[in-house]
């Protein structure tokens, strides 16, 4: 005999493990035991097999791997004696679950045991089947279980009933086989069989509409009678809990009645009396009684409407809500959430109590109560409720602040009656819990502020005050920095003072202090700092007296290790140093942000960016001529944490401007700057998108063009003179372009006026030829009129002919509709279309254009693309 396997008894092993002082000792003991058990398994030791498996189960419970014992379970189950089988089945349920392949091997043993003459062995098999059966086993063994539902011993019947629940959950198709045997279980007197029968019936109704219909028609009255008998039964010591006979059965019956009554007026009607009796007669001083009342209320709320009963139910919940026991209050809150859809007014009456529950020390209650309050808010009570919640925000636990702020923000934005109230509440939330506020929340706030032009002054002053006390709240700082950058002048001059405000005196330097603190604070993240830079740039223009100081702050960051900050510092410094003349225009106040677009964008619908000329005259998609809304919203789209995001934020706007700005600086910086122009144009072209651009030739073209034009650039020198037209105020990005256009417009070049240019073959393939004819409107050298002529060189007619063109950012393009969208075959007719191109870099850059032609030949789509680089110089 194996020296190990005789080894220790189970009790001794447990003792040895308990005696271990350290985890390492325990592991050593377990390892030794496992080794002995493995050895015994290998020797196929019969005598101690069930003891070894018992040990393994204990070891498994401690968290050690025991998969090597799985086959031992099967061997034990296959053995003849009850003790062996018992341990075998126990091991099967603990060490295996329905997903193991091994389980397939046990189906046959289970089948034999379900048909065993010993009812205790049948009981073991049913228990194992109920706890771990898989869908395959359910199919194989369902007939046995069905038969056992009528077994003479009630212990087997109730086990079979619960087994059936597992079977129909695994294989709903089998449900109909169980309907009839279940109906007879419902007539049983034995509580164990009855409660399992009721549960089986409930689950059958859930998986099968036919079963629901059957039980509703055949069994509702019987179940009502059973419940009535239960309620009126005399004292039964065996089932008594706190003076109530079998509250568990009460609850199961009420739950089944709920399933039967839901959506059926007749069934609901037949159970009204007994529900009223349960609701009024049940003792509510003990947990068991309250459990029944709770179930009863839920049934009343779910079945078809009966006004009187619902009043009764809501009153019970009211009593629950004022109970001292937290458990009872918890379930009351839970149920009120369901009741709110049935009777809002009744729930509203308990608002004050519910609000108190939000402040409970127990997180479970708080969470329920907060969700309930959220559902209770409407236009009429939003102000007092929000005030309560905001006040509570100050004292709430840190871990609850996230949930609470999210709910407050959602309530405030959903129901706010007026903008000033919205702004006030949001500022309070930001001051208290700015670190918990999600990005879209403060983005939305900025949009609202931007739209409330009469409140700009008020808001920026309120933010300034809030910043003094709550500078550690990141989101507050961001909003404050943004507003001070935009509306700093209103802050200093107390513009737009409301009656409710206390006057404050803020100097220009105080305002700059705020931004400086935000930049220098260690808690500020990159987004905040980047926003602060933009604000500084804006203030440098608004507060000339602080310009020097702002320059110093910015210069300090020219060596920043953070690329984004360094870049901004260098670029902004260059604006302040070299481009005084355009700075004020660059840092114009942001145009009003479009609320509708912002909301739409948040909802995920991004405005379409591709436009086609077929619809008539639409400016082409280079981002400049688009209506202002969409690109401006992008400015706010600071997709939070990731580093590159800020550059697409406020910077997006500015960088566009800066790109333009660099161009105008070329007048001072010779060839380098010019070649920069070239790449810039290239980038612009790339940004138009679609298939990769054949970049290098075009870049050279542009480059050479600009170099050639260098002589003609010289008149631009005059531009830096203060005489430049200061017509920059209106909205959008366009005015800035106009502004720059204004530069070039100043020195008109005589050669441009009305002179003729040679025609150009813009595109030629075997099937299609496009010729451009040029003309200049007198007095406007920037603009070129292009007459495009399309000729069909093939022998098929082209239908649905569409010509599209795209230009880099320094150009503006206007397409008129084509003369026809059908192009006759073999050059038998010409379609024309006129284009108007405005070159804002006139004299420095040549025109360049990408074109795309789409048409159909015999209903087959054809697409051709090309790039036109060889425009005559000087256009």
């Amino acid at each position: 005999m194996n020296p190990f396997s005789s080894g220790t008894r189970l009790r001794d092993m447990i003792r040895a493990i308990r005696a271990c002082k350290t985890a390492a000792e325990e592991r050593a003991v377990v390892r030794k035991e496992c080794a002995a058990i493995r050895a015994a398994i290998n020797e196929n030791d019969q005598d101690y097999r069930h003891r070894n498996l018992a040990k393994l189960m204990f070891i498994h419970m401690l968290g050690y791997p025991t998969h090597f014992g799985q086959m031992e379970c099967l061997k034990l189950i296959a053995s003849a004696g009850f003790p062996e089988k018992r341990i075998g089945y126990l091991g099967l349920m603990l060490l295996l679950d329905e997903r193991q392949e091994v389980l397939m091997l046990v189906t046959n043993s289970l089948k034999q045991d379900l048909n065993h003459t010993n009812q205790y062995i049948v009981g073991l098999a049913l228990c194992a089947l109920g706890n771990i059966c898989s869908a395959e086993m359910a199919r194989d063994l369902a007939p046995e279980v069905e038969r056992l539902l009528q077994f003479r011993d009630p212990n087997i019947r109730k086990k079979a009933a619960l087994c059936s629940i597992r079977i129909i959950k695994k294989v709903p198709d089998l449900a109909e086989n169980f309907i009839n045997p279940t109906a007879s279980l419902l007539k049983e007197k034995h509580h164990g069989v009855l409660i399992t029968g009721v549960q089986l019936c409930t689950d059958l109704c859930k998986v099968s509409p036919e079963a629901l219909e059957f039980f509703r028609n055949k069994c509702t009255d019987g179940l009502v009678k059973t419940l009535r008998d239960m309620v009126n039964s005399p004292y039964a010591p065996e089932y008594d809990i706190a003076g109530i006979t079998d509250p568990f059965l009460h609850i199961r019956l009420l739950r089944l009645l709920r399933v039967l009554g839901q959506g059926d007026a007749d069934a609901s009607d037949s159970m009204n009396d007994i529900l009223a009796q349960v609701a009024t007669k049940t003792e509510s001083n003990k947990n068991a009684g309250n459990a029944i009342l709770y179930e009863c209320v839920e049934t009343i709320m779910s079945i078809e409407d009966n006004g009187g009963l619902r009043v009764l139910a809501i009153n019970i919940l009211g009593r629950f809500l004022s109970n001292r026991d937290n458990n009872i209050r918890y379930v009351a809150l839970n149920m009120l959430m369901k009741a709110i859809t049935v009777d809002t007014q009744a729930v509203q009456r308990h608002r004050a109590t519910i609000l108190e529950c939000v402040k409970d020390s127990d997180a479970s209650i708080r969470k329920r109560a907060l969700e309930l309050v959220y559902l209770l808010v409407n236009e009429s009570n939003v102000k007092p409720l929000t005030k309560e919640l905001v006040d509570y925000l100050e004292v709430s636990d840190q871990e609850f602040k996230g949930d609470l702020t999210a709910k407050i923000c959602s309530i405030v934005s959903k129901f706010s009656p007026e903008k000033i109230w919205y702004i006030d509440q949001m500022l309070k939330v930001l001051s208290e819990a700015g670190n918990f506020v999600k990005d879209e929340v403060w983005h939305a706030l900025v949009v609202v502020i931007s739209n409330a032009s009469d409140l700009h002054g008020y808001t920026v002053r309120a933010l300034y005050r809030a910043f003094q006390t709550s500078a550690e709240q990141e989101c507050l700082v961001r909003v404050a920095v943004w507003c001070i950058g935009e509306y700093g002048d209103l802050l200093v001059n107390n513009v737009g003072m409301l009656d409710i405000e206390d006057p404050i005196t803020v100097t220009e330097s105080d305002a700059v202090d705020v931004i400086e603190i935000a930049i220098k604070s260690h808690t500020s993240d990159l987004t905040t700092k980047a926003m602060a830079f933009v604000a500084l740039l804006k203030l440098s223009s608004r507060f000339p007296s602080c310009s020097e100081r702002i320059k110093d702050i910015i210069v300090h960051y020219k060596g920043s290790l953070v690329l984004e900050l360094q870049q901004r510092a260098i670029e902004f410094n260059s604006i302040i140093m070299k481009h005084q003349n355009i700075r004020s225009a660059l840092v114009e106040r942001m145009p009003v942000l479009d609320e509708a677009t912002f909301i739409g964008k948040r909802a995920g619908s991004i405005p379409a960016t591709v436009s086609t000329p077929t619809a008539g005259s639409i400016n082409m998609p280079n981002g400049i001529a688009k209506p202002s809304a969409a690109p401006l919203v992008d400015l706010l789209d600071l997709s939070s944490d990731d580093a590159p995001a800020p550059s697409s934020s406020g910077g997006d706007f500015l960088q566009d401007l800066l790109g333009v700005d660099l161009l105008s600086s070329s007048k001072t910086s010779g060839v380098n700057a010019v070649s920069q122009n070239g790449t810039d144009a290239l980038l612009d072209l790339l940004s138009i998108g679609s298939p990769p651009v054949q970049s290098s030739p075009s870049a050279h073209d542009i480059l050479s063009a600009s170099q050639d034009n260098k002589t003609s650039v010289s008149p631009l020198d005059g531009l830096s003179s203060p005489s430049y037209p200061n017509q920059s105020t209106s909205a959008g990005v366009t005015p800035v372009m106009d502004l720059l256009g204004g530069f070039a417009a100043d020195p008109p070049k005589p050669e441009d006026n009305g002179s003729a240019y040679p025609s150009l073959v813009a595109f030629e393939s075997s099937s299609l030829k496009i010729v451009f004819n040029f003309s200049k409107p007198p007095g406007n050298p920037q603009t070129t009129l292009v007459q495009a002529e399309f000729t069909n060189l093939s022998s098929d007619n082209y239908t649905d002919f569409v010509f599209q063109a795209a230009v880099p950012k320094f150009l503006q393009l206007h397409l008129d509709p084509a003369s026809s969208n059908t192009l006759p075959a073999s050059g038998n007719g010409v379609v024309t279309q006129s284009l108007k191109v405005t070159n804002s870099q006139h004299g420095k850059k040549s025109l360049v254009m990408r074109i795309r032609i789409a048409y159909k030949i015999n209903n087959k789509d054809v697409l051709e693309e090309g790039q036109v680089n060889n425009f005559p110089r000087g256009l």
């Binding site: 189960m57 679950d97 087994c163 709770y294 937290n326 020390s361």
Partner: protein
């Protein structure tokens, strides 16, 4: 429906774990650890209910032992609380004044009692007497 039943002491040692839904062993250990963390530090005045992932745990403490049931979110919390108490009474009766050590050394019997009380995640028998009698019959077969 009951998803799982855990019996743990204050240190987090599992004394009984019965799962009515299939879980990987590693997942079981995680669940046991998380449930213990959730219930062990709660104030006795607090509710006996904690939300746990998409379900809720109904727990009750008896001396140093926590009895936790994980049930569906729509289930009747108060009823399951009563259910825990009934189970403890049965154990108490069976072991006559049950203590943690009884459960450790006789863990297989505790599983046996549980299998007579709850099956397939549903209540099987509500009479303490019936279960004790049934256990007596089973003991005789050993």
């Amino acid at each position: 429906m009951i998803r799982f039943i855990l019996l743990q002491n204050r240190q987090g040692k599992t004394r009984l774990a019965k799962y009515y839904v299939p879980l990987e062993d590693s997942e079981k250990h995680k669940v046991e650890y998380e449930v213990h963390r959730l219930v062990v530090n709660r104030d006795p005045k607090f509710t006996n209910f904690v939300e746990f992932r998409t379900h809720k745990v109904i727990y009750r403490r008896y001396a140093g032992l926590f009895f936790s049931l994980c049930v569906d979110i729509t289930d009747n919390e108060l009823a399951y609380l009563e259910c825990i108490h009934l189970f403890v009474e049965i154990l108490d009766h069976f072991f006559s004044n049950v203590c943690e050590l009884d459960l450790v050394f006789n863990f297989h019997k505790v599983y046996l009692i549980l299998d007579e009380f709850i099956l397939a995640g549903e209540l099987q028998e509500t009479s303490k007497k019936a279960i004790i009698e049934r256990m007596g019959e089973l003991e005789k077969l050993e």
